[in-house]
Symmetry: C2
Subunit: 297 residues, 2 copies
């Protein structure tokens, strides 16, 4: 069964009634599961996480944009988090039987529908139509207040919707990206320069692995150091590849791996692939895991 | 959420209408999922697999025993598989938030209920009340036909129900056991005596790992050999322990592991524990796997 994750961000984190109207678009709906929603008062922003059938998720997102258009007025919005619109960002992430390319298509469909509601839409990350739009921070630069001018600048015409800022609803970024795996490797040394040096080797910009971002950090209480990584495409650069790369580099300093951490959620496939590598399992399929029988069809 | 697996075996594998009446007890029921059912004409037997809330699964099993009591007459039963009753065996296996000890309790509750229906019941495996009843083959020895005498023998009084064979429904074995992981290790050699020697070392009876059963086998087409194992308690003897034990023994012969196989279904926890070992993940929880969010509550 096809399944996509969508994590729309709404610029309302204080008014429970308004938040509820938005979240209602995803609650107890057939073919999707509202995983979580987190209103943040300081950011004045609510992050919704939903997983489900792509068509149904897309329809619910578009419905929620209409609700947000009603209940949120960006002219009155203030909050600590950068934002450019009432529905600020809408990323699609593949879960099962769905590729990043499919998610790019979903982003375009939803982007078009939001544009048709009179809201300027920018496609970002893997859905970006220009390299400078891949990075969300660059797209959102100037924020809501700055977009009244930015939208008229060369190269900043929206991908969908009018080339005129929507005063009430702002602009929306719609994107597609792979699930990010936050993977940290803790080293048996307190010398942060070693973590730094290894981080610079393992990451893409240093000539390392294609889909790894990394920095070195001290873990002061533990008297250890950490190579803290984001694996931005775990299907192409696997967890075990990052781990083995770091082990090999650490040997240069006579340093070993004390332990590792996976922060937050991880797709089953990311774990299964690395388990299969270390356990040398031939032809293992995630369908062999009993718990997958319990997933709603 | 508590979840148990139950795999009741019914002595009817030919009459689709009767099978359907039995399976109906588990189909589309709230709080449980009918995973599979396999009628076998030669064995004249149907194996049902159901996972769900323990209370609801127990109730459905008892309901199915009443149906089997109606529709199956052991006086007319013939089939290739050993059997002692219309409902032949009822094993409970822990899945989530349930221990083997809990499953022993479920076996006793269901056993008592079946006994109250006038059917002699024997508890087996982890639910056994005597060592000689742990092994199902020993309990079932003599089969339906022999039980009219066996039930009167010293030491073979039923755990529940009358000490008199039920001519129509026979006797039933109810048990609790851990999920078995079928794990094979393929070695880079065609000498079956090496697989044999390693199998004898790794298994419990040879002084090896507590919860491992193992034999050596030739894989003729592959020109390799296999240590074929059943891990009967993957929580206490983990997959990686069996693998590392075999790697260490194989080194004695200058032989390496070509690959491994996990046959059939495996609980997520079995895989996660071994993945965490090899990847040295600190404090990893299966709840961090996205797909667990999709499991019906």
């Amino acid at each position: 069964m096809k399944r996509v994750m969508c994590i729309p961000n709404y610029s309302e984190g204080r008014d429970a009634e308004k938040i509820d109207k938005i979240v209602e678009c995803f609650r107890a709906k057939e073919g999707m599961k509202l995983v979580d929603y987190q209103p943040d008062k300081d950011h004045n922003r609510t992050v919704v996480e939903v997983i489900g059938d792509p068509e149904k998720v897309m329809a619910a997102v578009i419905e929620s944009v209409k609700v947000a258009q009603e209940v949120i007025d960006m002219r009155e919005h203030e909050g600590a988090h950068p934002r450019m619109g009432a529905v600020d960002v809408v990323p699609f992430v593949p879960i099962t039987e769905v590729t990043t390319e499919d998610c790019v298509e979903y982003a375009k469909q939803v982007g078009k529908a939001i544009g048709d509601l009179g809201i300027p839409v920018y496609l970002y990350e893997d859905a970006a139509t220009k390299p400078e739009r891949q990075n969300l921070a660059k797209v959102r630069k100037g924020q809501y207040e700055g977009f009244f001018e930015k939208i008229k600048e060369d190269g900043w015409e929206p991908d969908f919707g009018p080339r005129e800022m929507n005063a009430k609803s702002g602009a929306t970024a719609v994107g597609a990206r792979f699930h990010l795996v936050a993977f940290n490797v803790n080293l048996n040394t307190d010398k942060v320069e070693i973590a730094d040096a290894i981080a610079k080797k393992v990451r893409f910009i240093g000539g390392g692995l294609r889909f790894v971002k990394a920095i070195g950090l001290p873990l002061e209480e533990r008297h250890q150091v950490q190579v803290s990584m984001n694996l931005v495409n775990f299907e192409k650069t696997r967890i075990y590849q990052a781990l083995e790369f770091i082990k090999a580099e650490a040997r240069r300093y006579g340093v070993s791996v004390y332990g590792t951490e996976i922060i937050g959620m991880v797709p089953l496939a990311a774990l299964v692939e690395s388990a299969a590598y270390y356990m040398q399992i031939e032809n293992f399929s995630a369908d062999q895991i009993i718990e997958t029988l319990l997933i709603e069809e």
